[in-house]
Amino acid sequence: MVKKILAKGYVYLVLLFLYAPIAVLVIYSFTPAATMQWQGFSLELYQDLFNPAKSADILDALKNTLIIAGISSIISTLIGIFAAIGIYNMKNRSKEAMMTVSKIPMMNAEIVTGVSLMLLFLLFGIPFGMVTVIIAHIVFCTPYVILSIMPKLQQMDNNLYEAALDLGCTPMKALFKAVLPQIMSGIVSGFFLAFTLSIDDFVVTIFNIQGINTLSTFIYADAAKNGLTPSLRALSTMILVSVLLLLVIVNIFSHREKKSKNKAVAKTKGVKI
């Protein structure tokens, strides 16, 4: 019993270590002090954050972050869907080669991915800006999309596609009507994964951006310059809360999906019996 309490106590202690810095940041978002000193509760930092006159840079960075994440995750999902179906239908050798190449951006040090793309854009004379950041994000997001669609393809019932062809669908139509619905959950989770990876990225972004800021590059420049602008504490807190909300929503979503899948399985079993 004592051992159990000690063991649990240890785990909670480590959890405290993991959450303490975040807690400090959240708590201090409710005080207006410029440095980390408590000066009474106030929502001033949050008001500042939403005051376009005071936080134009931050709001601009937020807008850029969302635009970049939106565009790059949509494009990487589209490329990823076709790539996954294509790779799935390849012969062993080329399949393996494609998967190996896909793993490079996942395994590579982020800083090397960043600088190597920077060299490429410089070579081609492409001016740095939103476009270069979006391309860079597509590079490291697409492999993750493929990786989340692949298992669904492997579980897929191939007969449905052939049945669709036999019943007179064109290959394209069969793809949309028979294959896509079966891999939809993989596509959705791949899309969300790409979106979060893009929002989260700093290292690859910083080497391929110029003239504009994303949230990460803004926060980094700000922290490196003069400590943190106080209203960024409020922004961090809000990001934390939205990440938590998103996680809860995704969890509920996947839970429901599991449930309905179980139901479907039960139904087909019932039919067979």
């Binding site: 800083i111 697409t142 793809l175 961090s236």
Partner: protein
């Protein structure tokens, strides 16, 4: 029938072109710049500089040393956590494990800034001056990468067959012996992938040392960053290659030890 499979295969064509252009070509550029000097002629100058120029080589050793210490600390803190979480005797609650995953969803830049904010807040509570340097950098690294140690060890331990430990106990092993002789050896695949998942990112990061080290800590990542911002691409590329070789070596060792059991590596979600 055959015609259709050939057609579907070509759906990956745009992706193949894209990867060729934006993954393989950039890496080729890195190799090209690494083996040429500023005039564009082929030379090993950059690599020779790396070994002879004391500053860079020292920061290379420093990076390995700090990554090593971080990995050891993460293991010492993380293994007991994974063991306790995976052991039904102590814990039957799955949400406790999820609580360890949650911080990974927070941007690591934000987490690092939060660590800095915490140090500053502590400084003002206790009225002491906290000097940012090596110690705070290592703290930040452990803080950031600890979950990467816990997750793979946890998943190996929780899929472990309980009858091994029971058999060892029946045959008269003491509980400590069960841990050192039975559980640790069986957990090796998880431990190895935990070690690589902590060691590799600590090797290449420059953000944590930047924000928590106050320029006192110059790691390999910091130098690469510096070289490229100062437009010294050749030297920066050579350092990138050295970093890649180091990571390749780590991965090679991991694969060698880990080819039997596949544990949950990479991203969990």
């Amino acid at each position: 029938m055959k015609k259709i499979t050939i057609k579907r295969k070509y759906l990956a064509f745009p992706y193949a072109i894209f990867m060729l252009l934006f993954v393989l070509l950039p890496l080729a550029l890195i190799v090209f710049y690494a083996f040429t000097n500023a005039d564009g002629s082929i030379s090993l100058e950059n690599f020779i500089n790396f070994f002879t120029d004391g500053v860079t080589f020292n920061s290379f050793l420093d990076s390995i040393w700090i990554a090593f210490i971080t990995t050891v600390i993460c293991f010492v803190i993380g293994f007991p956590v994974a063991y306790i979480l995976a052991n039904k005797k102590y814990n039957r609650n799955k949400t406790l494990f999820l609580l360890f995953l949650l911080p990974m969803w927070i941007n690591f830049l934000l987490r690092t800034i939060a660590t800095r904010a915490m140090f500053e807040a502590f400084g003002s509570w206790l009225d002491i001056e906290i000097t940012f340097g090596k110690a705070t950098t290592i703290f930040g690294m452990v803080y950031n990468f600890l979950p990467f140690m816990i997750i793979p060890i946890y998943s190996t331990l929780s899929s472990l067959d309980k009858s091994y430990t029971e058999a060892a106990l029946d045959l008269g092993a003491t509980p400590t012996k069960v841990i050192t002789r039975v559980i640790l050896p069986l957990a090796i695949p998880g431990i190895i992938s935990g070690i690589t998942m902590v060691f590799m990112p600590t090797l290449s990061t420059f953000v944590i040392s930047d924000l928590l080290g106050n320029n006192l800590v110059q790691l390999l990542g910091n130098i690469i960053n510096l070289e490229f911002t100062q437009n010294s691409w050749n030297y920066g590329s050579a350092l990138s290659i050295i970093l890649l070789l180091l990571m390749g070596l780590t991965m090679f060792i991991e694969k060698k030890y880990n080819n039997k059991t596949q544990t949950a590596g990479g991203r969990i979600w």
